[in-house]
């Protein structure tokens, strides 16, 4: 199993939420949310921790899998990744909240509490997605 495959999923640039790089709701730039637009703003992250937090889980997994491969051999990360992939597929379509129960149990997230559980609860989010657009985005049709 090539752990380098995970590197292709790391994000070097952070897409701004919205329909496009500089475009907000009505086709003009969203000054309230993203400040005054400039090329530098679009390319660099807005906070020192932004990239590191976005890639944190991926980096942890990469480190753990390569440790596991060195200690127990190739089969260990291979089997685990297969289980993760299977658990990731048994969820609802993107618009509705899925519980991620199997995935959390495999990753050990059911026994720990972190900022993901306390801050910015998706159930309390002010914005609602549009079901068709979200499904199209997930299936890659958009």
């Amino acid at each position: 199993m090539n752990t380098r495959g995970l590197r292709s999923q790391l994000k070097d640039s952070v897409p701004v939420t919205g329909m496009g790089p500089q475009v907000g709701a009505y086709g003009v730039q969203d000054t309230l949310r993203s400040g005054f637009s400039s090329v530098k703003n679009e390319l660099l992250p807005s906070h020192a921790l932004e990239l590191s937090e976005k890639n944190f889980q991926l980096n942890q997994d990469k480190m753990n899998f390569s440790n596991l491969r060195n200690i127990q051999g190739l089969h260990a990360p291979l089997k685990l990744q297969m289980e993760y992939r299977a658990a990731r597929q048994i969820q609802r379509l993107p618009f509705l909240q899925s519980s991620h129960l199997a995935l959390d149990t495999l990753k050990g997230n059911d026994e720990s509490i972190s900022f993901e559980d306390i801050l910015n609860d998706p159930a309390q989010s002010e914005m609602m997605g549009e079901p068709h657009i979200m499904v199209e985005y997930k299936l890659g049709m958009m």
């Binding site: 939420t17 937090e53 618009f95 509490i113 900022f115 998706p122 997605g129 985005y137």
Partner: protein, 282 residues
């Protein structure tokens, strides 16, 4: 609010959406000469010492917000688990939330292992979390407790480095408190000596540092017993206001003026006329 469509499902945790906007606002505000509101810090003197049977943790009780005292009696010794307590200096919200998260994680961990949690576990969890956020979480902690291997005391810095020592101090008053420790610390002290030493160290911090003040809280942890003494010593007591200065009282007590003579004259009155006037109640 304009309709915005979201392509990906929302995730929990920190959201950096407003960072650029905040940076722009801050630049604008400083150009006008005003100040952005600052986070409430705890200023603080916190310290801990290992004695013969356990740990004594001590803290002052003042929380500052810039130059103003925000809380005259805040509690800086936080509960982590029945045998582990943690003092927090730095940004008040950060220390509060960090210790609560670690306390929850340690409870889940101890339920899953069915053992009393160890201080080294709490230390490892705290340092990994603080390093993950690269010092942006401003929490400087003194962690102490007694577990199956005896008493342990750690100091944890906001960027994630830790030290395991027999006596530690943190906060803006740490130098004053450390001076007292360096002078009078001995190995294997008795409990009363250790309490007196910690009380004097915190008092040194309170009287010599602007960021620390008010009372002294102590927490004594030994195997099987925790004494949370709040307040242990009220070093700065506010005076009692005299009633007369708020609202001057013109009534004097009976007997203020001495009575020299007393004469009573009875007036004979007789009824001349009696009339009744009815009230109009319609």
């Amino acid at each position: 609010m304009a309709t915005l469509s979201v392509c990906q499902p929302q995730l929990g945790g920190f959201s950096f959406e407003n960072c650029k906007r905040n940076a722009v606002l801050e630049a604008e505000v400083t150009k006008l000469g005003c100040n952005v509101p600052s986070a409430r810090k705890t200023g603080t003197t916190i310290c801990g010492v290992v004695f013969k049977d356990g740990i004594v943790l001590g803290a002052d009780t003042r929380a500052t917000e810039g130059m103003i005292v925000a809380d005259k009696n805040c509690s800086k010794i936080h509960y982590i688990s029945p045998n582990i307590y943690c003092c927090g200096a730095g940004t008040a919200a950060d220390t509060e939330m960090t210790t609560q998260i670690i306390s929850s994680n340690l409870e889940l961990h101890s339920l899953s292992t069915s053992r009393l949690p160890r201080v080294a576990t709490a230390n490892r969890m705290l340092k990994q979390m603080l390093f993950r956020y690269q010092g942006h979480i401003g929490a400087a902690l003194v962690l102490g407790g007694v577990d199956c291997n005896g008493p342990h005391l750690y100091s944890i810095y906001p960027h994630g480095s830790t030290d395991k020592l027999p006596y530690v101090t943190m906060g803006s008053g740490s130098l004053a408190a450390m001076a007292v420790f360096e002078d009078r610390y001995k190995q294997d002290m008795e409990e009363e000596d250790a309490k007196r030493l910690v009380r004097d160290a915190i008092a040194a911090g309170i009287f010599n540092d602007l960021g620390s003040g008010s009372n002294i809280d102590l927490c004594v942890i030994t195997k099987g017993r925790v004494d949370y003494l709040r307040p242990h010593d009220m070093a700065n007591k506010k005076g009692v206001r005299s009633q007369r200065l708020i609202r001057p009282v013109y009534a004097y007590k009976q007997g203020t003026t001495g009575v020299l003579t007393k004469s009573v004259i009875k007036l004979d009155l007789e009824v001349v006329e009696e009339t009744v006037q009815t009230m109009d109640t319609s």
